[in-house]
Symmetry: C2
Subunit: 248 residues, 2 copies
């Protein structure tokens, strides 16, 4: 009997051209994992993810699933086999469990959680190179927090939607946007049932304009209400973005 | 008039063959920084560090100093110039300040602080690859803490001293050894006026034997009292070790 395996994945986005399988020879998280399934069981499975992250975007708790006909392999065996087969790519199966037949990593997800990390200091990153957005000029946390409040709730997010976004509707509900500052790191946490393409990075880029005093907090509301990508701020780079988890 | 510049440095150890300058063509933190000084001012300065870290060992707050005849360059100018010149190597000058004439990064340091990080989980590291020691088998934190207590204080640390250590005396005073566990990460913090060569990594390797139940906590005391490197545990790998700071 076929079994459905749910995976929780961690990966370093800098090692991949994004989640989604592309033409042969392009290293993506999906293609590396599907190849690992093939080497393990000989099956050409499709692996579905809760969020199809872009090139450079990381994951600490991406959720994915696939279906296998091999009922002799337990989820724990799958976890270890996949971890052996994905080497040397920087992706790791943290957890593999058996899922119900109606579970779908993408369509069953109730919320997605993202984090965006800005290293806000003069000195370049060393350890965290490729894992943060390095912003030299100091950011005004309180102004960014005021601006962020305008983005919470249900809105038409066209201002923060990439031109090539394929979603049918630009309406999304942002349930959480928290901005916290550590010693040198500013962390923005986002939660929503789903996001438009580049929505998080476009919101971060816009909030950064506020943090630098080039925009007032209320300018974010004006931009949101314009429903026009041309009125939003720039797209923050992918390396600061982390897919934290999906809730079901 | 000559001025003495004190630097606080961050670096990713994986990018260097250790701190110390070697023959030409070998990339070390010291050689990269000295080359950056030369490109900035034309001077062939020697840069002294508080702790000469090994290949693969990281720093979050290494302290170093050098002397320059250029009194027209402020410490802030030095910081930015060095950060520009060290590119693309993963080392960063966090802080540059003027120091007194009798300040010496190595000889004036009163304490060195190190941290060793063990990723204790089944799945391989992705993000933190090269920044942690990945140990699959679960470690018994409480047993390690009991064992660690034997190492605190002043002792002859010959059991934990690398054969090629050049220190005159094997006597050292370990003032702090704290072991804490997060979700998947075990962190060991060490503080002492100074350490023998490989002392921290040899202590970590030995404590790991206790964590795995192969040694009892008291076996560490027996090993310490033997004053014989042959009686100590293995040397933990460099990538888990971070030079946190030096106190003056």
């Amino acid at each position: 009997m076929a079994q459905r395996i749910k995976l929780v994945l961690e990966y370093f986005g800098g090692g991949f051209s994004g989640w989604q399988r592309q033409e042969a020879g392009v290293t993506t998280v999906q293609s590396v994992l599907e190849e690992a399934v093939f080497r393990t069981s000989g099956e050409t499975a499709v692996i579905h993810a809760s969020g199809r992250t872009d090139a450079g975007v990381h994951a600490l708790g991406q959720v994915a699933h696939f279906v296998t006909e091999r009922d002799d392999l337990t989820p724990a065996v799958w976890r270890d086999a996949l971890n052996a087969q994905v080497r040397p790519h920087p992706v790791s199966v943290l957890l593999a469990t058996r899922a119900d037949d109606d579970f779908h990593a993408r369509f069953s997800a109730k919320q997605r959680h993202y984090e965006y990390r800005i290293l806000n200091r003069r000195a370049p990153a060393t350890w965290q190179r490729g894992m943060v957005w390095h912003v030299i000029k100091p950011l005004d946390l309180s102004a960014m927090q005021q601006a962020a409040a305008h983005l919470l709730g249900q809105h038409d997010f066209s201002t923060f939607r990439a031109a090539f976004c394929q979603a049918k509707s630009p309406i999304r509900t942002l349930q959480e946007l928290e901005i916290a500052a550590g010693d040198e790191m500013i962390t923005l946490r986002f939660m929503a049932p789903s996001f438009l393409y580049h929505q998080v990075r476009n919101m971060v880029g816009t909030l950064t304009l506020v943090g630098h005093g080039r925009w007032q907090p209320d300018d974010v509301l004006t931009a949101l209400q314009a429903k026009d990508r041309g009125r939003g701020g720039p797209t923050a780079p992918p390396e600061g973005l982390v897919f934290l988890k999906a809730s079901y």
